[in-house]
């Protein structure tokens, strides 16, 4: 194990001694790991801190919660403090009440003996623990569940429609000879890079004209006819031999059956890639939902989060927790499928 680790750590460029490029490599990789994962981890860690702890500066690395203790004779659990007494002794004591700068403290072991302590000479007793209320409260108090539902609906429906319409178009463009096929291809290619920001204003008026303003369908429909998807699926379908179709036609299969039962199953790998991308794209969409949705109960997660963060009194403890929930699907995709995606991107330059 150690030998393997040593050869791993001290692998060098050719020769015996460390080359400067080896140093650069490891500094870059380790530094890169900290820089790329660190911020997200810091966010996750912070999301488990109580509001009081979030306001602390400098911040602690780990989240802590205040310890409490049940003292006989008191109806509620009391917060514990480490108290420095006048005689130099330090003791853990519970606070009964606080008046001004003086607190009435009691030793849990001796519940009848009340000591008055200056609040300057005590610090809260804390232990590592998670403020899970950051996560549970947004679910009950805010519209968070609504936002989550909206985001799931938009992502799922948009991805389904994208897969069906794009694969149908790709099927037509790869398996049929018809007049204007090249024109259609060219049209799709030409708009491959027309970004939403360029057609924002007229698209908004069209969405309003067809009555989809303030509707989740208004968020979904403009995004589903993605040229990238059509192009990608078409390239893949071109590799499926036409003989399969001819054989099916001999067996009196309809064109629809050929599409559904032969070509679509064979296109599964490309469809999977498109599905993953579509999920990530639609889940992350921000600008378009921001414009189409003006009623709070229709907000998607991204829009809702931004609204919370934009409010005057930013409640970071809720925002951080909700941001973490927003990250979850994307992190899952990353963990399970990153190898698949990274090779896919490197091969096609797709995004």
């Amino acid at each position: 194990m150690t030998a393997a680790l040593r050869t791993f750590l001290f692998r060098r460029r050719g020769g015996e001694r460390w080359h400067w490029t080896d140093v650069v490599t490891w500094v870059w990789l380790v530094g890169g790991t900290i820089l790329m994962f660190g911020p997200a981890l810091w966010l996750v860690g912070s999301s488990f801190k109580s509001p009081a702890q979030l306001a602390e500066f400098p911040p602690t690395i780990l989240p802590y919660v205040s310890r409490t203790v049940v003292v006989p004779g008191q109806d509620k659990p009391l917060p514990l403090y480490v108290v420095k007494l006048d005689n130099g002794e330090t003791r853990e004591m519970a606070e009964i009440r606080r008046i001004g700068i003086m607190a009435q403290m009691v030793d849990p072991a001796k519940p009848t003996e009340i000591v008055r302590v200056n609040i300057q000479s005590r610090t809260p007793a804390r232990e590592i623990g998670l403020a899970l209320s950051n996560y549970t409260e947004p679910f009950t108090h805010f519209d968070f569940l609504t936002y989550l539902g909206n985001s799931v609906f938009v992502t799922a429906v948009a991805t389904l429609i994208t897969l069906i319409t794009n694969s149908m178009a790709a099927f037509a463009l790869s398996k049929y000879q018809f007049r204007g096929r090249n024109a259609v291809m060219l049209l799709i290619l030409a708009t491959l890079m027309v970004p939403l920001s360029v057609i924002l204003v007229p698209l908004y008026s069209i969405i309003s004209a067809v009555g989809l303003f303030n509707s989740l369908w208004g968020v979904i429909l403009p995004t589903v006819a993605t040229p990238t998807g059509v192009f990608m699926l078409r390239q893949y379908m071109l590799t499926i031999p036409d003989e399969l179709m001819d054989a099916a036609r001999m067996d009196k299969a309809s064109e629809w059956q050929i599409y559904w039962r032969i070509v679509l199953p064979l296109t599964a790998p490309a469809l999977a890639v498109l599905a993953i991308f579509s999920v990530v794209w639609r889940w992350n969409d921000f600008l378009w939902p921001l414009i189409v949705l003006s009623r709070k109960e229709l907000y998607t997660l991204q829009v809702g989060l931004n609204t919370y963060a934009g409010e005057l009194n930013v409640q970071w403890h809720y925002i951080l927790a909700m941001t973490v929930v927003t990250m979850i699907p994307v992190v899952l995709v990353f963990v399970f499928l990153q190898r698949f995606i990274t090779t896919g991107i490197a091969g096609s330059g797709l995004k």
């Binding site: 790991t33 810091w42 920001s197 057609i199 007229p202 589903v224 199953p265 921001l290 963060a309």
Partner: protein, 337 residues
Amino acid sequence: MAEVMRKAGAMLTAPFAWAAAAIDRPLRALQNAAGTNGMAAFFLAPNMLIFGLFVLLPLVINIAYSTTAGTALFLPDRTFVGAEQYQRLLTCTDYTDPKSCLEDQFWIALRNTALFVVLQVSLMTVVAMVTALILNREIMGRSFWRAVFFFPVLLSPVVVGLIWRWILQRDGLLNAALLQVGLEPHVWLTDRFWAFAAAVGVSVWAHVGFYALILLAGLQAIPKDLYEAAEMDGTRPGRVFWRITLPLLMPNLLVVIVLALIRAVQIFDEVFVLTGGGPGTSTLFLTQYIYEIGFASLLKNPGLASAASILMGSVLVVLTLIQLAVARRNEAKGRRE
């Protein structure tokens, strides 16, 4: 293998088999009427309908829209003013000073975007290049390191903006770290210079993994024997990079630069969440300008926003044409080799 894939695909489509079966009979009737090739129109229809209504039509309407004025939403209700919106956007007494322009916000956004594009694309290209070169070395766990740099690419712009806002805020991690090493804390996002620097840095952080991957694919396509020959001749590594790696990587590098340019011109989401365009107008970019003028501000003027988006769109069209030309040349080259 193909059989396995087919089975997996069939399993995925199975839950919807009832729907597919239900429309098969009417579609057979259609096929009998239209012929086999006529079915192409049927398969194209859904996508082209959505595409036409929500991509092509807006593109065309945009041009008409930009020649009209007023706050009315629908084109027929708007008054035709010709090139007036463009004149408003492009009129300045002193083109070096945005304040002297009729639409000073547009010029500020334009200047900010230009500066952003230059800085962000050059920084990102260099970082992506170094990362790709390092990932291309024979290191252990290469796919892990590759994933490390790719991770932020999948995050949503809102999440990216919030992560960095949390770190760069007054009581944030960066200031705590500075305090640790004995330096003065600073207010990063409310300082004009640093807010802009943060916009550049954060967008590089969020996207560099994607471009590093494209470059890495290019590096891995360079034949190994070229390097072996160079090593045999005792060529120094620096020289190998300039004489072998860089020339052979040029097609991928060009793709990366043009794609990054196209992306950078449209920068909006992550910066909007990070700084909201501020402090003042120091991180106001073109897309946000269009958004504010078209939708968000009290002085709503969709015609002006339309004209601005067409100006921005024309830059993007030029960049896209360059990109397609580069891609085509690469493809032609690939065939020759």
